[in-house]
């Protein structure tokens, strides 16, 4: 508690004691990424839904805010040819702001859209997949496809999205006050996530992660719980995207694509899924290392991140935070070697009796 308050103050006051603008911009960026990772942790770490398309919600949130800022910027900064609408639209042959984009001139409406659209989309996605009992690998593949589609859509409709160039050149909120705002949102989401995962719903979500068949036969409508948490998570990701667009001042199709989605999954895995600080630590470590080391190791960086992921999956299954917690727990118990061996004997014995994977109620033979 004290530790986290200290961290918040340390980050929030950075603009007043540090003068490195680069580090300052990175801080805000990382905080947005951390919210994004937290949103992945909610569905993956706590509910067991692996989404490889979480960037869709981040991306839509980011694009809507960036569009709004860009449209407003263009109103006061006419293009070279005198148009009072975003320059990339002019380059692509539009002569005025498309009608359906006019509501985005109002900042509150843009923000509401940026948060609501992704949540609604997540709801639709959830109804389509979870209600039909699609989850696990299939869900991962569908979400991956989802983010590929969005990425292609952005590139294809460049008159409305800026295409490959993304949306740039608008007045962003790069002030210390906005860093405080991002921090506040981080804190609020952290508290919300904590309340959620420690509530009765959280316990149900974890039981769905552990054994969805059992939960279903215990009267829980598993699909509804999945849809609920998926929407909460999409809302978080969208907020992260909206803040990101406002802070950084550039949004590109990469922010909605599969690579960014998977990066988020890696941060969560490295930090420790199923824990709340894990995603924060993972994001700051991996992303931080990327920014400070990629200068020296530019060509190798992708390989390093990939290997890191494989290492975490193979060795540190619970990520950094989870592994440390396990280690502390083991030390507390002060298990002797003898006890450990006895325990492993017992599990080996159990596994011989209980060789079927969880959730598979019976073999073919038993059914007949």
């Amino acid at each position: 508690m004290i530790g986290s308050t200290a961290v918040v103050i340390l980050i929030g006051t950075y603009p007043y004691y540090g003068s490195n603008a680069y580090v300052l911009s990175l801080l805000g960026k990382f905080l947005c990424f951390a919210i994004f990772a937290l949103s992945i942790d909610l569905i993956w770490g706590f509910t067991g839904i692996l989404s490889l398309g979480q960037a869709v919600y981040f991306g839509i949130g980011a694009y809507l805010v960036a569009l709004s800022l860009k449209i407003n910027y263009a109103l006061t900064h006419p293009t070279r040819y005198g148009g009072k609408f975003p320059d990339f639209m002019e380059w692509n042959g539009l002569t005025e702001l498309p009608r359906f984009m006019t509501p985005l001139i109002s900042t509150p409406i843009a923000v509401i859209c940026a948060l609501l659209f992704p949540t609604l989309l997540a709801f639709l996605f959830g109804v389509i997949t979870f209600k039909r009992h699609i989850y696990g690998v299939y869900c991962a593949v569908i979400t991956l496809a989802e983010s590929l589609i969005l990425q292609d859509f952005i590139i294809e409709y460049q008159a409305y999205t800026g295409g490959f160039n993304g949306i740039t050149d608008y007045s962003n909120y790069g002030t210390p006050a906005f860093l405080w705002f991002i921090l506040a949102v981080v804190v609020v989401f952290f508290i919300v996530a904590r309340a959620l995962t420690h509530s009765r719903v959280g316990t149900v979500l974890k039981s769905i992660r552990d054994n969805d068949v059992r939960a279903e036969f215990m009267g829980y409508n598993v699909a509804n719980y999945r849809i609920f948490v998926f929407c909460v998570s999409a809302f978080m990701a969208a907020s992260a995207g909206a803040l990101y667009a406002a802070w950084v001042g550039i949004v590109s199709f990469l922010d909605a694509g599969p690579v960014f989605s998977i990066e988020g999954v890696i941060w969560t895995a490295v930090g420790g899924r199923g824990t709340l600080i894990g995603p924060f630590i993972g994001t700051f470590l991996v992303k931080g290392a990327e920014f400070f080391l990629s200068g020296a190791l530019a060509q190798w960086w992708q390989i390093i991140v990939g290997s890191l992921f494989i290492f975490v999956v193979l060795v540190l299954r619970d990520g950094i935070v989870g592994s440390v917690a396990n280690w502390i727990r083991a030390r507390k118990k002060k298990t002797t070697l003898h006890q450990v061996m006895e325990e492993s004997d017992r599990t080996a014995h159990d596994q011989q009796l209980d060789w079927r994977p969880a959730g598979v109620p019976e073999s073919d033979e038993a059914v007949r």
Binding site: V201, R214, M218, N221, V222, G359, P361, V367, R368
Partner: protein
């Protein structure tokens, strides 16, 4: 008042193979019924049909006066049927205590569980159940640290927590030691005092220990039904199930 559970003309096929064939079957309130049958007789399938895991090709299932044929598993649970799987099936990373808590009778919808807190009554109930299945001293351990037998008992505890009208127990003693089996039988007998139970069991010792009425299935059809002594002496039953080696 009719039977608690009434299965009529139930037929099911899986990839062309008829597993249950026009099965009629019923259980009265407060009964402890044992379901017997050789491998492949359709015992587990019957349980899967009752709990909504599979849909029947023909026939109907009535429970407590309502037609539950084709309902989803969670709806059937809410109607009052809880099921124990053959293999212990619980939430591995949750603590023993939380496993029971999630199973407690009560509201199951997303928004009603969102702000729900444990009442004092529920807290007591959890501990009562933990005492009952003798896992109280392991309440805060993760469920996957339990031994095989303890897992089976935990799942029994979870079923009791949900306070169903009908418990379906699918071979709850699978893979247990003799000692464990005895204890399980004891638990089931105690549960049966206050609940209606349908027990699938292979072990004849256990059946003799707790069985009252027995139903024997064979090739998806009802072969015999009646008090234990009567069924055990039935010629057909002995031939297909008990004394395979004696004939031919």
């Amino acid at each position: 008042m009719g039977s608690l559970l009434e299965v009529k003309g139930l037929t099911t096929r899986v990839s062309g193979f008829t597993i249950l064939n026009n099965l009629d079957f019923s259980i009265e309130q407060n009964e402890l019924r044992v379901l017997l049958g050789p491998n492949g007789a359709g015992k587990t399938t019957l349980i899967c049909m009752i709990t909504g895991q599979f849909r029947p090709v023909a026939g109907s299932i009535h429970f407590a006066g309502r037609d539950i044929t084709g309902w989803a598993p969670d709806e059937i649970f809410q109607a009052g049927i809880s099921r124990k799987f053959q293999v212990p099936n619980m939430y591995e990373t949750l603590s023993v205590h939380d496993n029971i808590m999630v199973s407690l009778q009560g509201r199951r919808r997303v928004f009603s569980t969102l702000f729900q807190r444990l009442s004092g009554q529920e807290r007591n109930r959890i501990w009562e159940i933990l005492e009952f299945v003798e896992l109280a001293d392991k309440a805060s351990d993760a469920a996957d640290s339990l031994s095989h037998g303890e897992r089976q008992w935990l799942e029994l505890g979870m079923l009791i927590a949900s306070n169903p009208k009908l418990l379906l127990l699918d071979e709850p003693t699978t893979g247990m030691t003799e000692e464990g089996k005895r204890k399980t039988a004891e638990l089931i007998r105690k549960i049966a005092k206050t609940h209606t139970v349908l027990l699938v069991e292979h072990d004849m010792h256990i059946v003799r220990q707790i069985g009252q009425r027995i139903t024997v299935l064979h090739q998806g059809q009802l072969l015999a039904e009646g008090p234990i002594a009567e069924v055990m002496n039935n010629e057909t039953v002995r031939r297909v199930y008990l004394g395979k080696g004696k004939f031919q």
